[in-house]
Symmetry: C2
Subunit: 302 residues, 2 copies
């Protein structure tokens, strides 16, 4: 990563942290425990990749992202809610996330369920709070676009398919069935919200349909690349570098790209996807952040 990009990302990340800190309800609001749990979950670090992508998209479409930060940071609340619920004992049963104890380990299961609900709800508040300079019809579209990306056939559907795919490889050897299932999981579980992040930035910036199409194509490519890298890291990484439990995919018999196609084929696919994303970024016309961001996603180590 060039030092220019690094500086820019640090600036954006600090704007994101400040926005979340400022806009989140205070920890002592009644009832305090739920507000503490929400803050614990969302202010515990994280790459903030989704808001960063939305900011880069808005910037690439010629808008100043600063006034758009509240709806953009709603993406991080939604991502966090999905992690809090996915980590629950009834789902992935994970007790480590972003290098810290998961929300249900600290606050109990009931409060983790409700804190996840509250983060999702807060996100929709942020998406529908009027933004100066954005026309209400565009903002309504932006909110709907994000909601659709995380519905039962979007992000939640991807999580459902992921849960169902556990041990699918022991039930069928049909490669086409397995590949189709894997593609569905990848496209939805991570891909839809990452793609919606790009689109949200574009819509809030008032982008035309052509640019929105390129942003979508970029999002779909980096979304899939991100997920394959995730699978590779789970295979190769350690809890220390990941900040979450490593090696769980194999232990749980999960369907992953490397398990199905091999590590080398998975790495090649990531390279192709990063290249495709770069091409889309060039088509948008201002590739200075989107191109290196695509490379960073393909090469990340945590």
């Amino acid at each position: 990563m060039s030092s220019d990009l690094k500086t820019q990302l640090e600036l954006w990340r600090s704007q994101i942290e400040q926005t979340i800190e400022r806009e989140m309800p205070p920890a002592d609001r009644r009832p305090a425990v739920i507000h503490e749990a929400m803050r614990y979950a969302v202010l515990g670090g994280g790459k903030r990749l989704r808001p960063i992508l939305a900011i880069a998209a808005a910037d690439a479409c010629g808008a100043d992202p600063t006034p758009l930060l509240r709806p953009i940071c709603a993406l991080e609340l939604i991502h966090t809610y999905s992690l809090v619920h996915d980590d629950l004992p009834a789902l992935d049963d994970d007790d480590l996330r972003r290098g810290r104890k998961t929300t249900h380990v600290v606050f109990g299961e009931a409060m983790a369920i409700l804190a996840g609900d509250a983060l999702l709800t807060e996100a929709f508040c942020w998406l529908t709070e009027p933004v100066a300079g954005v026309d209400p019809a565009g903002q309504l579209l932006a909110a709907r676009l994000v909601a659709r990306a995380v519905d039962a056939s979007g992000m939640i559907g991807g999580q459902v398919a992921d849960l169902e795919a556990e041990s699918l490889e022991t039930r069928t050897q049909d490669r086409a069935v397995l590949m189709d299932e894997l593609a569905f999981i990848h496209r939805n579980k991570t891909g839809r919200l990452l793609t919606a992040s790009l689109e949200l930035g574009g819509v809030l910036a008032g982008a035309d349909d052509a640019r929105l199409g390129h942003l979508r194509a970029y999002g779909e490519a980096i979304g899939l690349a991100f997920q394959i890298v995730d699978d590779l890291l789970d295979l190769e990484g350690s809890a220390e570098t990941l900040g979450k439990t490593a090696g769980k995919d194999v232990a749980q018999g999960k369907l992953t790209w490397p398990s199905l196609l091999g590590i080398e084929a998975a790495r090649t696919r990531v390279e192709e996807l990063v290249k495709a994303a770069e091409n889309s970024a060039v088509m948008i016309g201002r590739p200075e952040y989107l191109v290196p961001l695509a490379r960073y996603i393909g090469a990340r180590r945590s």
Copy 2:
């Protein structure tokens, strides 16, 4: 209930059922199990009180409610999601709801958590889908108003306080503390969404601030009346008439109006609140449905 009101309520209820049936994603959409679980939860009966109140509010403000049905029915999705999550083993641990097995009993805990998430998300899709004849700024306001009503200091906050209040009476005898806690629970757990239902109908109908104020006052009065009646029914009712487990409040040591003030005082309070709601309905100018609805809420037996 007069036969005219009964006919009108039946008509509205059938419009609501048809809208939910039509707008919900089909049960065979991939992944099927989550869409089945969502439909099981929301299409399993219920009074549909929140959409009925929103329709009555829109009607009282002079609007034809028919084109407004999709965002109005989002209220029922939100109410249902809250029931699905509240019934989970980690929360109220209930296995009977609306006379049927709860969602987690039929589909398992993981799927019930995700189906609740998906119902909430679908609700925001319906709230942000453009409605002909409603200006986008008004619709954005309507969506935000509903989201705020069910956030961590609204409906979710009420549920948190309710969970925390279990056995509160064994920890303190301070009547003022107990009354304050009870008022917080009632105002938020049921009151906020019921009030937002009235406001949603009004905002979608283009009501002015004066009428919105009366709708809010009406909603707050019937919201509290509804909750006190709920407490009374839990004490007096049977699972057969309630469609859910009766007597749980006492068994769980929950803070309720009758347990704190006595059954007679609770009944008197319901009468006063119904009267206050009637007065607000008259101020709105078209009280023909809102007045009998307030009486129905005060007198309901299930």
